[in-house]
């Protein structure tokens, strides 16, 4: 019925590797992306992370590409603006529009390139985490890192009910479309407002039922967490650390290189 990230997460080939290690790899790569002064390291991360996600975790390539298009389109738009806004350096491109001069200069272009590369690399790292690590494992890592119980419990319940409400929203939407609720902008907006309202009420009711269900099973303030996921294998730890060192080295070695 729906194509959810979560479904791919539960069927990826890296599901049985240590969640801590996967988080280390993803977050480490992300931090390096942000700290890099040139676009080279982030682009390297983007390519390698994509290869890992598609090649090793066996996420379908087609799906992965469509997923990447979303952040990429944002990045392209905003970096376009940045390229025009920043002056300095030699002029690369200029045009006259209704008496206003629009120009791209060296600094602006470099910044835009860096922006795209960072977004791209960061998103690839984030997708690596979200496509290989089920939420539950992330929760248990968070708990072991000392996040208060009530926050973890609350997020777990929210996570569980997201899917119930996606189903409900889907059903309501179908019911509306079936009776032409999407005919024209006015109707669509109206239907959407109704959907939101009904969903809010349902969420409220579900909350009441949740309390009854928990009470009926002797709720005493405790929600269990699965034990930690698989232990990391020495070889995998070595590979992750090695990868991060290599990327960091690239950052260091390329810090003075200007692409334009």
């Amino acid at each position: 019925m729906h194509d959810l990230l979560d479904d791919y997460t539960h069927s990826n080939a890296l599901i049985n590797t240590s969640p801590r290690l996967k988080l280390l790899l993803g977050l480490g790569a992300m931090l390096i992306c942000i700290s890099s002064a040139t676009p080279i390291a982030p682009l390297f991360i983007a390519i390698t992370m994509s290869l890992i996600t598609v090649g090793i975790a066996k996420i379908p390539g087609r799906f992965y590409c469509t997923l990447l298009l979303i952040p990429l389109s944002f990045a392209l738009l905003s970096s376009g603006v940045v390229a025009f806004m920043h002056g300095g350096g030699s002029q690369l491109f200029a045009m006259n529009l209704f008496g206003f001069m629009f120009e791209i200069r060296d600094d602006g272009a470099n910044l835009a390139l860096l922006l795209i590369a960072r977004t791209f690399g960061g998103m690839c790292s984030l997708f690596f985490i979200s496509l290989t690590t089920p939420m539950m494992e992330i929760f248990s890592v968070l708990k072991s890192l000392g996040l208060p119980d009530f926050l973890v419990d609350l997020s777990m319940l929210m996570y569980r009910y997201i899917f119930v409400f996606i189903d409900q929203a889907h059903l309501i939407h179908n019911a509306q479309v079936m009776r032409l609720g999407d005919a024209g902008i006015k109707n669509t907006l109206n239907s959407h407002a109704m959907l939101s309202g009904v969903l809010f009420l349902r969420a409220w009711e579900q909350g009441e039922r949740l309390i009854v269900a928990m009470d009926a099973r002797c709720y005493d303030g405790k929600l269990v967490l699965m034990e930690q996921g698989a232990k990391a294998k020495p070889r995998a730890i070595f590979a992750v650390v090695g990868y991060l060192v290599v990327v960091e080295a690239i950052v260091f070695l390329t810090k003075d290189i200007q692409l334009l």
Partner: protein
């Protein structure tokens, strides 16, 4: 006789003044399968919610083991541990993000140590046939699997009574029969099972005792035959007769059968028609029924029995037996209503094999014996329980 749950003159009105329950007094015996039957809005769910103290009667009292319910938190916890409730909508009940967590919820909140929690969860999941599902999120489960998880969550608290609100609604026929089979198995283990349903076929066939409700009152209680023997009452309760009873009544009104107790199932109905036709039933040779205890007989042996003897039909009862059949690659002809189906096949001269385990083995043998005594048919039961080979149950020869 021990009553496990009693209500005395219980009434209940909801906040808006709607009366859902008007002076209901019932006493439920321990270790039975009880079905509350009635139309929508008859008060079945309201009554069930009182059994474990979720609703408190406006007047009257509810008793558990002869003790009036107390509604302080400690007593309620104790009660809810002993009276487990499975809600109609599994999504209301399964609130944890993985199967393991959901089943472990009860035991953890009862303060069991971690090792015990694990053991109980493992046992409960094995019982409902969902081993290996621990890490699955509920939204990746089918309706039948969700229902099993919900039941496992209750089983892990080791209740004495299991209350199920419309356990088979929204399930496909095979899943619902499997759930009902599982409830049979639980009843054999000594638990009291109470379900609410408006599926008359199910209630008629399954329940030891049927309680017919309408408009917040009890219209009639008794065995399925007693309750469904009164078409006027059934009509009044906006229900319909089970198809077996309906056919039987039509046959009687055409003078094909004499009027007595309606048959309980297809088997009894066929027997009635046959004995009317031929004077007796099953003159021809009956088929053998083999019963294999899967705790004692391995898959290889069962396969060799299937190849050796001329067994035309195989059926399995209980999750263990079904799991074994799947492992051994045995194609099952019957996965529910197995004993009756095998008797029917035996009467038409075909051999069959029932795979089952634990107390269900003796229950199957007893069921076939009772049938033979009542109908005068001779069916040979071969019990395969030892590893040395088939030993023939002496008293059936």
């Amino acid at each position: 006789m021990t009553f496990i749950i009693e209500t005395r003159n219980v009434s209940y009105s909801y906040g808006d003044g709607m009366e859902a329950m008007r002076g209901v007094s019932i006493s439920l015996e321990e270790g039975r399968k009880i079905a509350l039957v009635g139309p929508n809005g008859a008060g079945k769910s309201t009554l069930m919610l009182m059994f474990n103290g979720i609703l408190r009667p406006t007047s009257g009292e509810v008793l558990f083991h002869g003790q009036s319910l107390r509604y302080d938190p400690a007593s309620l916890r104790e009660l809810r541990r002993k009276v487990g409730m499975v809600f109609q909508n599994s999504d209301d009940q399964i609130f944890a993000p993985t199967v393991y967590q959901d089943v472990a919820f009860g035991p953890v909140n009862l303060g069991f140590p971690e090792e015990k929690v694990k053991r109980y969860v493992g046992y409960a999941l094995a019982y409902v046939g969902l081993c290996g599902y621990e890490r699955r999120p509920p939204h990746h489960l089918s309706g039948g699997e969700k229902k099993r998880v919900a039941i496992a969550g209750i089983l892990a608290m080791e209740p004495e009574v299991i209350v199920l609100d419309e356990p088979t609604s929204n399930l496909d026929p095979a899943s619902s029969e499997e759930i009902m089979d599982m409830l049979d198995e639980l009843k054999c283990g000594g638990k009291t099972i109470i379900i609410s349903t408006h599926d008359v076929e199910l209630a008629y066939r399954w329940a030891d005792e049927v309680i017919l409700m309408e408009g917040g009152r009890i219209l009639k209680r008794g065995t399925g035959q007693e309750v469904f023997g009164d078409p006027g009452l059934i009509n009044k309760a906006r229900l319909k007769l089970p198809i077996v009873v309906d056919i039987y009544r039509e046959l009687v009104s055409r003078g094909l059968l004499s009027d007595s107790n309606p048959p309980r199932n297809v088997l009894e109905l066929t027997d009635l028609v046959e004995s009317r036709n031929r004077g007796t039933i099953s003159r021809g040779t009956t088929g053998k029924i083999h019963i294999a205890d899967v705790d004692k007989v391995g898959p290889d042996e069962i396969n060799s029995i299937l190849e050796g003897a001329h067994i035309s039909y195989a059926g399995a009862m209980g999750t263990n037996a079904k799991a074994l059949a799947e492992r051994a690659g045995i194609i099952l002809d019957f996965t529910y209503g197995v004993i009756d189906k095998c008797i029917l096949k035996s009467l038409s001269g075909k051999d069959s094999l029932i795979m089952t385990s634990g107390g269900m083995v003796d229950r199957s043998v007893k069921r076939i014996q009772t049938y033979c005594e009542e109908s005068g048919a001779k069916i040979e039961v071969v019990k395969l329980s030892s590893l040395e080979g088939p030993d023939v149950n002496p008293d059936r020869r």
